[in-house]
């Protein structure tokens, strides 16, 4: 039995393990298999859309497809954009995010590298020095760690070191977080490492439309951006019109509004309006927060959900405005809570909204333990019940 997405991809000996047969995992695996079927299997060149503007009917689009479209449109829009990493060429990536790009844009623009993450990141530095806009893929969150020195010591610091002479317009795409029944080293929430490193920006979409828009904006930014893709949402679907999104992005791109402004100076979004408390979440935790808000509404509690979208730069204004209005706040993230992004957000909210708060800012995060094995991960992940328990703890007067 092979039950994990990575088993389908099979890039690492350690990943070809047997997972437990739980319903949740089966869903993830089916999604991955569906994706594989759609891609027509590894190594087989696929028919390409006729042009980058090939019409995609408004309908259910997966986040994976939206990311793929964003990469394709960025490759079309700017000859300096290059996409590379492990298995991103012929295979189209283990999650198929780069599906078809090598065939359509050629192996100069989208190519496989030797299996070496520091090499990938280090080479991207040189390519950026020499005028390119590299978009590199780290195959999984925990496999990005060998690249950390290049990311922290050079990608993050080169612009500052050279007084802006060498900006690093690099996007580091990282599938992250859990909820897919993955084996160890495939489910880390590693965002705090990057968010803690000055010089990097950290962006993470929670919706299909944001996946497209924020990735386009990240690629067009002159700053290095760690673009963290919630892998459990890769095959989530939404009715979006990719043509309309492209139009929206490209018309707004020049004026510096919308997603570009979000990436430049922070851009959280109100995902659901409410009046009693604010749930602050990002990436994989946004759908969970929305589900918790829906459940709370049935009990008569009105919860607002803020989707952070850009961890760095953090949108203090939008978050603070919401919390001042509701007077209560809970920060939700999948990462281990100690010294986490959630901790930073809680501290910022407390500093800025203290006199509006009716209760301490709470955090609902993963435990301070290594990411659990598949059969135990649901105990670790912040779920609706744990969020609602925290909501109950917000010192209500009634």
């Amino acid at each position: 039995m092979s039950t994990t997405q990575n088993t389908d991809a099979g890039p690492r000996p350690g990943s070809a393990q047997t997972g437990p047969d739980t319903g949740e995992i089966t869903v993830a695996v089916d999604a991955a298999r569906e994706s594989t079927t759609r891609a027509g299997g590894a190594g087989v060149p696929q028919p390409r859309p006729e042009s980058p503007a090939a019409p995609v009917p408004a309908g259910p689009v997966t986040m994976a497809k939206a990311l793929n479209a964003a990469l394709a449109d960025a490759l079309s829009a700017d000859a300096g954009v290059v996409v590379f990493g492990e298995d991103v060429g012929t295979l189209g990536g283990v999650f198929r995010i780069t599906d078809g790009l090598a065939a359509r844009f050629g192996t100069d623009r989208c190519f496989d590298t030797p299996l070496a993450e520091s090499g990938i990141a280090g080479m991207s530095v040189g390519m950026a020095i020499n005028g390119m806009r590299p978009v590199i893929e780290m195959q999984f969150d925990a496999f990005a760690y060998p690249a950390f020195e290049q990311i922290a010591s050079h990608i993050a610091k080169m612009s500052n070191r050279t007084r802006g002479a060498l900006p690093m317009p690099i996007v580091i795409r990282i599938p992250y977080a859990g909820g897919i029944g993955g084996v160890e080293h495939h489910c880390d929430s590693s965002e705090a490492y990057y968010a803690h490193t000055p010089g990097l920006k950290v962006v993470t979409p929670a919706t299909v439309a944001d996946a497209y828009l924020l990735l386009r904006a990240a690629i067009d930014s002159d700053d290095p951006i760690v673009f963290m893709e919630p892998k459990k949402l890769y095959f989530s679907k939404d009715r979006v019109d990719l043509d309309a999104l492209r139009e929206q992005y490209e018309s707004g791109a020049a004026s510096g509004t919308g997603p570009r402004a979000a990436v430049e100076s922070g851009g959280a979004a109100i995902a659901r309006t409410g009046s009693d408390a604010t749930l602050i979440a990002y990436g994989p935790s946004v759908p969970t927060a929305l589900a918790a808000a829906a459940a709370a509404a049935e009990e008569g509690r009105s919860l607002e959900v803020v989707d952070v979208r850009t961890i760095v730069p953090f949108d203090d204004a939008t978050v603070s405005e919401s919390v001042r209005r509701t007077g209560r706040a809970i920060v939700i993230s999948e990462e281990s809570g100690f010294a986490s992004v959630a901790s930073e957000i809680a501290a910022r909210v407390q500093e800025r909204c203290f006199h509006s708060l009716a209760a301490p800012v709470l955090r609902v995060t993963g435990f301070d333990i290594p990411y659990p094995a598949p059969k135990l991960e649901h105990h670790f992940l912040p779920g609706v019940d744990r969020i609602l328990d925290a909501v109950d703890d917000l010192q209500w007067e009634d």
Partner: protein, 387 residues
């Protein structure tokens, strides 16, 4: 890709009438053209063999390189003096390695790139960077003092070996644009133990890029001798494991260095794939002024290498050949003095880096958070000024 690479290696080997293995393996002996007493060795003694022939460079190239060698020695000694005088905290000197420094810069054309380590300041200056700008990093004003794109020289920084991958990326970007840029990527013997050394050589070989990896084997990584880094027959022998050619050269023989690197540049520009060149040299001084070399090596060893000094050797060779006159020698010495004097003047000038620059280049536009912190610092400074 790999099939093409094998073909190119095979073609290069065939053009020299040798097997691909003999092309990739270094010559049996170190390439040395001028002996340590300044005399020219016989062809057999030079270590040359089929596919590893190194004609002596043109006279004017030798003289120009010697001019830079004299300046390089003076720059090293001036900077060490400035450290002793407390004008800067640290200077990793390449005293004794100046022939490598000069050759690494001299072999490149105008459109080519050089990626130095923190010890390669003389190579950076030899490539045309203003000496005071090159020294800004050590004066402590900022982490770098020159525009890398203007000079096509990577910025010096202290993580080991990471710059080799940057060199590979520059070469790859140039290749994609159809430019014939050659990149020389410098590192030391200790750096060959780092993972990035392996990744950079492998990437360059797989992508078949015109990069020369130039290792200055100065025998020590701070205190640890080469025997603790590797038991390979030589560092140059590592090349064959990546499917590239390697060569060993006397790193204190400027003539041999120029011959090997200039031929190397021609080969890699012509499509022969990357190259690994190991130069045998010696770090005459301690790692930095903060290091005490007497704790890990004998003075007799240092004395032995002082006798192989690259500057003295080149001077004798050029004088004996009638190329270097007393007049030229005086002129070169005067030029070196002028650089030293500019360094003293530049490094002794009081500099006051602007604290607001701390926030200026972290991102292309400061984030709201950095704007807040910048305002906070400005307020602190204005209060300080007022009191």
């Amino acid at each position: 890709m790999s099939d093409d690479v094998r073909t190119d290696i095979a073609e290069a080997a065939r053009s020299f009438g040798i097997t691909p293995e003999d092309y990739m393996l270094p010559a049996r002996h170190l390439i040395r053209i001028v002996d340590q007493d300044g005399t020219v060795l016989s062809t057999e003694e030079q270590g040359a063999e089929p596919g590893h022939d190194y004609p002596v460079p043109a006279d004017e190239d030798l003289l120009e390189a010697y001019r830079r060698l004299v300046a390089g020695r003076r720059i090293n000694d001036q900077n060490s003096a400035l450290v002793r005088q407390g004008r800067m905290a640290v200077y990793p000197s390449s005293h004794g390695q100046e022939a490598c420094q000069v050759a690494a810069a001299a072999c490149l054309g105008e459109g080519d790139w050089l990626f130095p380590t923190y010890r390669d300041t003389v190579a950076v200056i030899s490539r045309g960077v203003d000496p005071v700008e090159a020294m800004t990093i050590f004066r402590g004003d900022w982490h770098g003092g020159f525009d890398p794109r203007q000079h096509k020289v990577g910025i010096q920084s202290t993580p080991l070996t990471t710059q080799l991958l940057h060199a590979v990326g520059v070469a790859h970007a140039a290749r994609l644009r159809g430019e014939d840029t050659v990149v020389v990527a410098m590192c030391g013997d200790g750096a060959t133990s780092e993972g990035d050394f392996h990744e950079a050589l492998n990437f360059a070989a797989v992508f078949h890029l015109p990069v020369i990896f130039f290792v200055q084997n100065n025998q020590y990584a701070i205190s640890v001798p080469l025997a603790r880094q590797t038991v390979a027959p030589s560092l140059a022998h590592k090349a064959v494991g990546y499917g590239m050619a390697g060569e060993r050269v006397d790193g204190n023989d400027l003539v041999a260095l120029l011959a090997v690197l200039e031929r190397g540049v021609r080969l890699v520009r012509g499509g022969a794939g990357p190259l690994l060149v190991e130069a045998h040299t010696y770090r005459i001084q301690a790692h930095t002024n903060a290091d005490d070399a007497t704790r890990y090596r004998e003075d007799a060893e240092v004395q032995e290498w002082l006798a192989k000094d690259p500057v003295k050797r080149m001077r004798t060779y050029l004088t004996d050949r009638g190329l270097l006159t007393e007049e030229l020698q005086s002129r070169y010495e005067q030029e070196a003095e002028d650089i030293a004097s500019a360094l003293r003047e530049g490094m002794n000038r009081e500099s006051t880096p602007d604290p607001q620059d701390l926030f200026a280049h972290v991102y292309s536009v400061p984030t709201p958070q950095l704007a807040e912190q910048s305002a906070m610092l400005a307020e602190e400074l204005s209060r300080e000024e007022a009191s």
